[in-house]
């Protein structure tokens, strides 16, 4: 079944098409949720609600060719909503100590390259909500600071600041997991 037909069938609430659609996107979307969530349980909650939200909004799609992006964006927005509802105050008011990094050389391009993805995911999950969301949105999903500011309802400068602090904290956490700079470089 072509993608456009699949979307149209889902818009008609054809349950078989919905199952095919779900199978097509479920693994990718759970991966997104695992990045944005603090724990696996939270990720599964976000995933389940987000999937139903996608089917509820599927009538809004007019260009089925952009469905991949659309689906991912819905899930990202839902994850943000989840944390807006649960921990927005924490995001906005959290004050985390700046982590200073002392780089001995400029060979940081190899950073993370040798890391196991599970370890990396674990380090990201341990970040405070605000840092984690901004790092996910900017570094992984490619949103610009203006977009992040609009979606999170914060100032652009706050987004930059959160990203910087989050980045340093992430490196620090990786160090805490036994990965020292000299091992990375």
């Amino acid at each position: 079944m072509e993608l456009a037909e699949l979307v149209k069938a889902c818009q008609r609430q054809d349950s078989r098409a919905q199952a095919v659609f779900y199978d097509r996107y479920k693994s990718r979307l759970l991966g997104v949720c695992l990045r944005y969530a603090k724990t696996v349980a939270e990720a599964e909650d976000i995933f389940q609600e987000g999937i139903l939200r996608i089917f509820a909004k599927i009538n809004d799609i007019q260009n089925p060719q952009s469905i991949d992006n659309w689906v991912k964006t819905i899930m990202v927005r839902h994850a943000i909503d989840y944390y807006n509802q649960v921990t927005r105050k924490e995001m906005l008011s959290a004050s985390h100590d700046d982590v200073k990094l002392d780089w001995e050389n400029n060979d940081y391009t190899l950073l993370f390259s040798k890391l196991d993805i599970s370890l990396l995911l674990e380090a990201i999950n341990e970040l405070p909500d605000g840092y984690r969301i901004v790092i996910n949105m900017h570094f992984i999903d490619g949103y610009k600071h203006a977009e992040i500011a609009e979606m999170l309802g914060i100032k652009e400068v706050t987004s930059r600041s959160q990203l910087l602090k989050g980045r340093n904290l992430l490196i620090k956490k990786l160090e805490q997991k036994g990965i020292k700079q000299h091992e990375i470089f």
Partner: protein, 441 residues
């Protein structure tokens, strides 16, 4: 030159993006099961939709009932008028002994010498009578009528009762049957004639007068014409509906959607141009029904709106125009795509109507209001709108106003589109037609 931070960011971005680009994790079987079960459930019957439909049907029912009652009243009034006219005609032409005519509409104190003349049987002429005055109470039909007795040779001037009491100067007495007939009509309470919820009318029929054909010269020719009874049968003038009293409200607006567009920053956006063609696809309607009380209108409404937009998406083709020696202007080409959006909304609203009255131009109104609506389609988006309308008020009858005028509705929400970098604000402009039916008194 990039700073250390920027370079580090780029490196981390590349590393993380590459690591997570294809990151997938299969959900547990129990989660799959839950999702499948949720998808297999039959579509929920939307409670809001059902409630809105029920309320609209209820209001329409009340409206139809109200209209039926009004129609019944109107029929009764018409019948009453017809009966009164008939009475008048019957009373006007009643042959009496071949040359005596009973008339009701000639109040006067003019005296005549009565003498029968078959050649002029239907002269309606004010007469003097020797008959005793009919008691005022009899005119209202609450007492038993006192029959006339015309005494020959005697003179008596009846005191004018509403200028319609006849004065008879005749030596003939009315036959009892005719007296009874005439009085019988008088005795009928108008509310018995007009059944239903009829407002009592100030109907006042005069007692029949006897017009005798006379040979003598008409001594009344120089006198002014008496006031016609018809005037007294007229309906009272309509008063404008009381805007604070309870009333049913029905409103239908034909709308045309025009959009404001908001482009959001998006690195992946490929939109080159957006335009809004003039099209019938922008037409919609809104139906409201509710009631007015405490000076405010409380409405339930259903809207069907649609709008059309044309997007031009960039494609990976370019056109190069040579502008001179070794100078080119490159233009990215695009592919047009037309998107039509349709939404059905149901919700509640509140309006305040201000009425104005011009000296010559009649009545006008202005309405301001606010609506909350919810989309009936699956996305269930909320809409908050403010509206304003103004126009002319036409009084259809004592309790019913028809209003018509231009209508503008501003949408406070920006509506997301399929393109995440675009939001639109669909506003409405159109023509509103409304009916305000005050509770019949």
């Amino acid at each position: 030159m990039k700073s250390f931070d920027d370079e580090l960011n780029d490196a981390i971005q590349k590393a993380l993006h590459d690591s997570f680009e294809n990151f997938e994790r299969k959900p547990r079987a129990s989660i799959d099961q839950k999702i499948y079960e949720a998808l297999d459930k039959p579509a929920r019957v939307r409670p809001l939709l059902l409630s809105a439909a029920a309320v609209l049907v209820l209001l329409l029912g009340f409206g139809v009932k109200e209209m039926s009652e009004r129609y019944a009243s109107f029929r009764a009034i018409t019948r009453s008028r017809a009966t009164n006219e008939e009475l008048k005609e019957r009373a006007n032409v009643v042959p009496l002994h071949g040359n005596i005519v009973v008339s009701t509409d000639q109040p006067s104190h003019t005296r005549h010498n009565a003498s029968a003349n078959p050649a002029r049987p239907n002269i309606h002429r004010p007469l003097k009578t020797t008959a005793p005055a009919k008691p005022a109470s009899m005119l209202h039909g609450h007492t038993k009528p006192v029959p006339y007795k015309v005494k020959a040779g005697a003179e008596a001037v009846l005191p004018a009762q509403n200028n319609t009491s006849p004065v008879i100067d005749s030596e003939h007495a009315l036959p009892v049957q005719i007296q009874d007939n005439a009085v019988a009509y008088h005795d009928m309470d108008v509310n018995e004639i007009a059944t239903g919820r009829l407002v009592p009318l100030p109907v006042d029929l005069a007692m029949p007068a006897i017009s005798l054909d006379v040979n003598s010269e008409d001594s009344t020719s120089g006198e002014p014409e008496p006031r016609p009874v018809r005037e007294k049968l007229d309906f009272p003038r309509y008063q404008p509906s009381d805007k604070k009293s309870f009333a049913w409200i029905f409103n239908l607006s034909a709308t045309n959607t025009f959009q404001s567009i908001y482009l959001l920053p998006n690195a992946e956006s490929r939109i080159l141009k957006v335009s809004f063609p003039v099209s019938t696809a922008n037409l919609g309607y809104k139906f409201s029904a509710g009631f007015q009380t405490l000076g405010l209108q409380w409405l339930f409404h259903y809207s069907h709106l649609s709008w059309k937009a044309e997007y031009i998406y960039a494609i990976d083709e370019f056109k190069a125009d040579e502008q001179g020696a070794n100078r080119y202007v490159f233009e990215r080409l695009g592919k047009a795509e037309t998107v039509t959006s349709k939404v059905e909304l149901a919700g509640v609203g509140i309006k305040k109507q201000f009425d104005f009255k011009g000296k010559r131009s009649g009545r006008f109104f202005t309405q301001i209001g606010a609506d909350y609506s919810r989309q009936l389609q699956s996305s269930g988006r909320n809409f908050l709108t403010g509206s304003i309308s103004a126009g002319k008020v036409f009084t259809m009858n004592k309790n019913t106003d028809l209003i018509i005028g231009p209508y503008f509705e501003y949408n406070f929400n920006k509506v997301p589109t399929a393109e995440y970098s675009i939001k639109v604000r669909p506003n409405q402009v159109g023509l509103s037609l409304g009916l305000r039916m005050n509770r019949a008194k």
